[in-house]
């Protein structure tokens, strides 16, 4: 189906299978806060503060963290919905918007996004087929062709075109609308899809349907997903790699079994044990963390988690822990002094009870 398109054919694999599809280096975004007239210094929200990661081809990277940790801002920076303060990106071996690299227009065709609010992200005045055909038409596809493609995509995401194509967003249920959003994202034949809390607003039984659809589409079209969610169960289910964020920084990243099995950062362990147990005879007895996530304006010095960390030590305030690979598994990285024998933390690299 895709070969018949008159728009430029999708970018083929250039860097080879070992080249990560997307490499992000030191992404930063600080938002200025409007202060009172008497405040001398300007305050900044450190929304994303030096985030680096890479997404291998055909894999799913899950990003988890509490609200305000910078997950969504990271997604928006990658999609260039807002400009980053600093940082660079490499898409399949080519620098994004760099000299000799991939152009922004081309990059955007390769990267699509699905948002949490399925209603707000659809134009209420376009029928859903028009919505799906809109993007390709802007990029130069003839209207009839774009419409035909939209119908095929609707059928693929499980919405009968004859029944649904001429409906408006308000005539659909939440799950159906999210399918439309997914179909729209696929209209460009992207290679990377960013799913920002894409299933969070759906009911459990519908959520499972959409997760199944996402898995099928990924296998069918060799997609790479960046899956952002606060639901740890869903991330565990869908991801190959997981990245845990806290206050605008990456605190731990690694293969999904390592993160869920042998988490190395105290925050990751706390986050995982905060999930309600499904066993009525074995209820959670104590909360793993006290208090709310701190304010991202003026974050604490050193390790940002130290105010809530049970293993905090003066060295945590003095030195910022670096994201380093763990012994034995370099792909599993954590930013905690406990995992660094050279950090000077008295409990470093000793067995810690979670």
């Amino acid at each position: 189906m895709k070969q018949t398109l008159t728009s430029p054919s999708p970018v083929q694999d250039r860097g080879g299978p070992a080249q990560p599809l997307l490499v992000v280096r030191d992404l930063k975004k600080h938002f200025a806060v409007r202060g009172g007239p008497l405040e001398r210094s300007k305050k900044f929200v450190h929304a994303v503060d030096g985030v680096s990661f890479s997404v291998p081809k055909g894999k799913t990277l899950g990003i988890v963290g509490e609200s305000g940790c910078g997950k969504s801002t990271t997604a928006r920076l990658i999609a260039r919905l807002m400009a980053a303060d600093s940082g660079s990106m490499v898409f399949d071996g080519e620098g994004v918007e760099e000299f000799g690299g991939i152009r922004l227009k081309e990059f955007r065709r390769n990267l699509q996004m699905v948002f949490q609010d399925s209603f707000a992200s659809l134009n209420p005045r376009l029928t859903i087929a028009e919505t799906i055909a809109y993007g390709p038409r802007v990029h130069g596809m003839p209207a009839a062709e774009a419409m035909r493609q939209a119908q095929a995509l609707l059928a693929r995401v499980g919405l009968e075109p004859a029944q649904f194509a001429s409906r408006y967003p308000h005539e659909l249920s939440g799950g159906q609308r999210q399918r439309v959003n997914i179909a729209r994202a696929l209209a460009f034949d992207p290679r990377l899809v960013i799913l920002d809390e894409a299933v969070a607003a759906l009911d459990k039984s519908v959520q499972a349907q959409v997760l199944n659809l996402l898995q099928e589409l990924k296998a069918e079209r060799q997609l790479t997903y960046l899956f952002i969610s606060h639901d740890l169960h869903v991330v565990h289910y869908i991801s190959d790699y997981v990245m845990v964020m806290y206050l605008g920084q990456v605190v731990e990243t690694g293969p999904v079994e390592r993160i869920y099995g042998q988490a190395a950062h105290p925050y990751t362990r706390a986050l995982l044990s905060a999930v309600p147990s499904m066993d009525p005879d074995n209820r959670t007895q104590a909360s793993p963390l006290a208090g709310d996530p701190p304010n991202p304006i003026n974050p604490p010095s050193g390790c940002r988690f130290r105010d809530r960390c049970p293993h905090a030590h003066p060295v945590c305030a003095a030195k910022t822990p670096a994201l380093i690979g763990l012994p034995g598994e370099p792909a599993h990285q954590a930013a905690c002094h406990l995992n660094d024998p050279a950090s000077g933390h008295p409990a470093a690299l000793m067995e810690i009870q979670p």
Binding site: S67, S173, G174, A274, S277, S287
Partner: protein
């Protein structure tokens, strides 16, 4: 259970504004004193409508309520004027999903709690303030003295929900209604609120109806779970029974669709289709169009709710029949 604190008999609620919708269809529920019941269901299943009906919060002109509703020996549907005011907040009070919207933004947290205490008891300002401050301490708000004079927007989400609970419990209600109190919160804060609710329930001995769509949260706090679908209770039973041996196909589908450690990488056993339109419910079992086991009878007749001991079930073809031996 000798005399239940709450008893709903064949409660039906119909909204008849510009469009008609049957939100509740002959719901039967009983709740003993000191019991915690979780209402589990998807959006549109009638969980929140049940709570709002219990407080009579629906506009009377466009709502048709049928059936009987008794709380603490009072016929709630017959309450009027001052008696209704005392009932709301005094006997039954509610914690809402969005604490940011439930508080009045122009008064401090302390003022609002003090006001509700004075509305229900004849005590002077100073005593009420002291009581309000004590409530804030009881819900474990750090530096309660300082937060007392804080406006709602100055508190974080978790703190606001704690303040909301303090407000709801200020008049020592016998029944607390919690409408998805943790849905808007982060996982680490959610577990704190769940533990707090459980602890306060144990201390005060009040009954709680806890509405949620998250089975995990229900398991953490509830003694009993009632599963709702399209305005009907389809299954009811102790938490352990529901989670380990679901009888209704819908409950089983919900549990199977919950992603966990076991089913990584495999396709999920999702329930096909989507919830029915409440304005045009199918004539038979409302789950029949999505049910794999549906027969001709399911599409024709509504299955009655059968009760056996603690358990209840409304299904023509249950996965496990309702029997002691199962």
């Amino acid at each position: 259970m000798t005399t239940p604190l709450v008893s709903l008999q064949d409660l039906s609620v119909q909204f008849c504004g510009s469009r008609k919708a049957s939100a509740l269809n002959a719901v039967n529920l009983e709740l003993g004193a000191g019991e915690v019941l979780a209402l589990l269901g998807e959006s549109g299943s009638g969980k929140s409508v049940t709570l709002r009906t219990l407080l009579r919060l629906h506009p009377e002109r466009t709502t048709k309520i049928q059936g009987r509703m008794q709380v603490d020996g009072q016929d709630v549907l017959a309450l009027k004027g001052r008696a209704l005011d005392l009932y709301r907040g005094g006997t039954v009070s509610m914690v809402f999903q969005e604490p940011g919207l439930a508080f009045d933004p122009v008064y401090t947290i302390g003022q609002q709690i003090t006001e509700s205490i004075r509305a229900h008891a004849a005590i002077d300002e100073a005593a009420a303030r002291a009581q309000a401050l004590q409530m804030l301490e009881r819900v474990q708000i750090p530096q309660a003295k300082r937060r007392f004079d804080a406006y709602p927007h100055e508190l974080s989400g978790g703190m606001r929900q704690r303040a909301m609970i303090a407000l709801a419990l200020a008049c020592q209600p016998k029944l607390l209604l919690a409408d998805e109190p943790t849905t808007a919160l982060d996982a680490t804060v959610q577990i704190q609120i769940l533990l707090l609710l459980r602890e306060l329930q144990r201390e005060t001995g009040m009954s709680v109806i806890f509405v949620t769509h998250d089975i995990g949260a229900a398991v953490e706090v509830a003694d009993r779970i009632a599963v709702m679908y399209a305005g009907r209770v389809v299954e009811q039973g102790p938490v352990g029974e529901i989670v380990r041996r679901p009888r209704h196909p819908y409950t089983a589908g919900l549990l199977a669709a919950t992603v966990g450690t076991e089913n990584r990488g495999q396709p999920l056993l999702a329930v096909p289709g989507s919830p029915p339109d409440l304005a045009a419910l199918p004539p038979g079992c409302s789950f029949a169009p999505r049910c794999a086991q549906a027969s001709e009878r399911c599409r024709r007749e509504v299955p009655p709710l059968q009760t056996l001991g603690q358990q209840a079930l409304a299904c023509w073809h249950p996965i496990l029949p309702l029997a002691e031996a199962a």
